[in-house]
């Protein structure tokens, strides 16, 4: 009995030691570093991404240090895969970072009241919402308060193979292009014998189907995020347009038409690619055999396209909020944004930087970045709720048969509706 007690003590002791080890570690990450004797305040800052992102973040930090010698920014890079899990668990574990990068998870964090309201900081320092693209600000506002500052923006765009347009005698797409123009071009370009398709980018990925549906005047859910709206006549029109591109016109490849490991677009087999802006940098690097250009997606009932974005927020648990705000302000301010702009990829949320030649002329006249800026300017914020993951899975479950098996659109939507509305109700209740 006595020895049992000893064991228990030993176990408890080691467990405590372990726990203490953990917490002292976290104290180090968020506490001020006084070890080297100076009074620098340390701001811990997590972000996701690879080497490219690391280079950008470090370049901005170098500039930041010049202006703020009293703040030490500790950058913590986390691989994109698993970023959300890592952030959640560390925040649940009580250790808070001072600045965190967020995207889709923003609503969940903001909804739980874990983020600092940035509106007072902005007012104090005279940072105006109007200087930023409105969709970027809207995406990171919660109950009318700005809870995060956008860092990088993008939107669904259209890349097109100029050579295929020339070959078929079709004029290049313009900002005034309609879906009918798009449809006609797709039919002309498609050439079964050569394995050439008019369009790629017809599928169940949210930005994919929403690009068509929203442009046709429909939406996944109503503006207030309470009701399913994909079964409205406008939405159905958009979905059917997509389905017809695959099955009736045979102008878009089926998933099984795309050989694994083969990129039809970069191998010149696609006339128009409706996809994200990341294709721009990859096209510059990889496409040597044909000429290509960027255009906004066509206009339907209105011009609109899904917004991609990410932002920086300050968790409520941070003990260095003022310093953290200085960091956020700098990164999303002119200096930070200019460094981003020089990459010539994603759009800087600060309008003045995005519309300057620093950004628009990065690639000389080779790429029409104005098309991307126009797209971001007219973009809509995806209807992200705290059930975003679940709803996307439902969309995958119910919409996939439409595009891969020619399933009846109305029937799929009828089955999908109660499932999505259940999620929407749960999201409302969770608020």
């Amino acid at each position: 009995m006595k020895s049992l007690k000893k064991i228990l003590t030993a176990v408890t002791l080691s467990a405590t030691l372990l726990a203490a080890g953990c917490s002292s570690d976290s104290a180090k990450t968020s506490g001020s570093s006084g070890s080297d004797g100076d009074k620098k305040e340390t701001v811990s800052f997590t972000y996701w991404g690879g080497d490219f992102d690391k280079k950008r973040m470090e370049a901005i930090r170098t500039e930041f240090n010049k202006e703020n010698p009293d703040i030490n920014v500790k950058l913590i890079q986390i691989p994109s895969d698993g970023y959300d899990q890592k952030l959640l668990t560390s925040m649940a574990g009580g250790s808070s970072y001072d600045v965190v990068q967020l995207a889709e998870a923003f609503n969940t964090y903001a909804g739980k009241g874990t983020l600092e309201d940035l509106t007072p900081y902005m007012e104090k320092d005279g940072v105006s919402k109007d200087d930023y693209f409105s969709a970027g600000m809207e995406a990171y506002s919660y109950d009318g308060k700005v809870m995060a500052m956008p860092m990088r923006l993008g939107a669904m765009i259209m890349l097109y193979n100029k050579d295929l347009f020339d070959k078929n005698g079709i004029p290049y797409p313009t900002d005034q292009w309609t879906w009918e123009d798009f449809h006609n071009a797709a039919l002309k370009i498609t050439n079964k014998q050569d394995g050439v398709f008019g369009v790629q980018g017809v599928g169940t990925w949210w930005a994919n189907y929403m690009a068509y549906v929203e442009s046709f005047g429909g939406s996944l859910m109503t503006k207030d995020h309470t009701k399913f709206n994909l079964d409205s006549p406008e939405s159905i029109k958009g979905l059917k347009f997509m389905q017809d591109l695959i099955y009736k016109d045979k102008a878009a490849p089926l998933a099984s038409d795309i050989p694994k490991g083969v990129d039809l677009w970069t191998s010149g087999k696609i006339g128009m690619l409706v996809d994200g802006p990341w294709h721009i940098l990859s096209a510059i690097a990889n496409i040597k055999d044909f000429n290509w250009e960027v255009a906004p997606i066509p206009t339907g009932e209105k011009f609109t396209t899904p917004l991609f974005s990410n932002a920086f927020a300050i968790p409520k648990g941070s003990e260095h909020k003022d310093a953290a705000w200085k960091v956020v302000k700098f990164w999303t301010g002119e200096v930070g944004q200019t460094i981003l702009a020089k990459e010539g990829g994603e759009v800087p949320p600060l309008k003045s930087v995005a519309n300057s030649d620093v950004y628009l002329k990065v690639h000389g006249d080779a790429v029409n970045l104005q098309a991307l800026v126009t797209s971001v300017d007219g973009a809509f914020v995806p209807p992200i709720t705290s059930k975003w993951g679940e709803i996307n899975k439902l969309a995958d479950t119910y919409l996939a048969p439409i595009f891969s098996e020619n399933a009846d659109v109305e029937k799929q939507l009828k089955d999908m509706k109660p499932q999505v509305e259940k999620m929407l109700t749960e999201a409302q209740e969770a608020k």
């Binding site: 394995g195 050989p259 694994k260 059930k387 679940e390």
Partner: protein, 306 residues
């Protein structure tokens, strides 16, 4: 003897006792931290709602009720999982045994073959599954991307759509699992070697055919190994995760297993309580099946000791 050991133990010096606990502590702490505590926490969590950020909330049996009502994911995943068990386990046990019988022949260079067939058990994981999904890619109109269907094509067979087809998506998952069937020779070979040669010789003298020898001599003597493989196979197929996760069907619903469903809920939707409930339902199912296995085994498994 037993009493003596006991006495010896209590007479061990205090110093030695302390050392004993120090030496064994990594395993005890490891067991508590990584097995026992999570095990009981998950039981508790299965009655709660927990999204990791906000504190857990007690909801009673709600998670289990929701599970029973979840026809599109849970029941579907359960059906798929049962399919993997019903089709996959007999196939892998039979093939594993057949292969091992071939590999148990004492012929020249047999070790080379043993190594070759054991290798898949050494190389495993995500990378191999990615390769498989390339191999199983259905041929397309203007090019055969998938090697397997291309080879089938040489013989005039039009390969199925594998992951792209509702009918073949699950068999594809099982097929990929069968690739590693050679790993089971670790159990089969010693079991086959354990069948006394005299018995075979005696049967031969009595004029038994090969087939007869297998069913009347070998089979009864290796039933413990078969029992072990079937039990582990069922447990393994109920926990199948990597294959359907890495090479899902064109529609995930075709291939999703209970573990995939659990993973999605826990790490994509952050419904830890709900995911824990799935884990416990899975645990209970495996437990019940294993007990049934044990009970039924008394009728057909032969142990030399009884």
């Amino acid at each position: 003897m037993v009493a003596k050991t006991k006495q010896n133990f209590s007479s061990i010096s205090k110093h030695e006792k302390r050392n004993f606990w120090i030496y064994i502590s990594p395993w005890i702490i490891g067991f508590l931290a990584f097995t026992a505590i999570p095990f009981f926490s998950s039981l508790g969590l299965s009655f709660m709602q927990w999204d990791i950020i906000t504190p857990p909330k007690w909801v009673g049996f709600d998670n289990y009720k929701e599970l029973m009502d979840d026809k599109i994911y849970f029941w579907n995943a359960l059906r798929n999982t049962i399919f993997y068990a019903l089709v996959g386990v007999p196939l892998s046990v039979t093939l594993g045994l057949l292969l091992s019988i071939l590999l148990s022949k004492e012929i020249k260079g047999i070790n080379v073959f043993r190594i070759i067939f054991y290798l898949p058990a050494v190389f495993g994981g995500v990378a191999v599954l990615m390769l498989w999904s390339y191999l199983l890619y259905p041929g397309t109109g203007n090019g055969d991307a998938g090697l397997i269907n291309a080879v089938l094509g040489w013989f005039g067979i039009e390969g199925p759509g594998w992951s792209q087809s509702e009918f073949w998506a699950k068999p594809a998952v099982i097929l990929v699992g069968l690739w590693g069937v050679g790993g089971s020779m670790m159990i089969w070979l010693p079991a086959l070697a354990g069948v006394p040669k005299e018995l075979h010789e005696a049967a031969e003298i009595d004029g038994a055919s090969r087939w007869r020898k297998f069913w009347s001599v070998t089979f009864p003597l290796i039933t413990p190994a078969i029992f072990f493989q079937v039990t582990m196979g069922i447990i393994g197929s109920f926990q199948i995760f990597m294959e359907p996760k890495i090479m899902p069907g064109n529609q995930k619903a075709w291939t999703d297993s209970l573990m995939v469903n659990l993973f999605d809920n826990a790490f994509t939707f952050y419904k830890m309580g709900y995911a824990s409930a799935i884990a416990w339902v899975l645990f209970i199912m495996i437990m019940v099946l294993t007990v049934i296995n044990l009970v039924v085994s008394k009728r057909w498994v032969y142990y030399e000791s009884n």
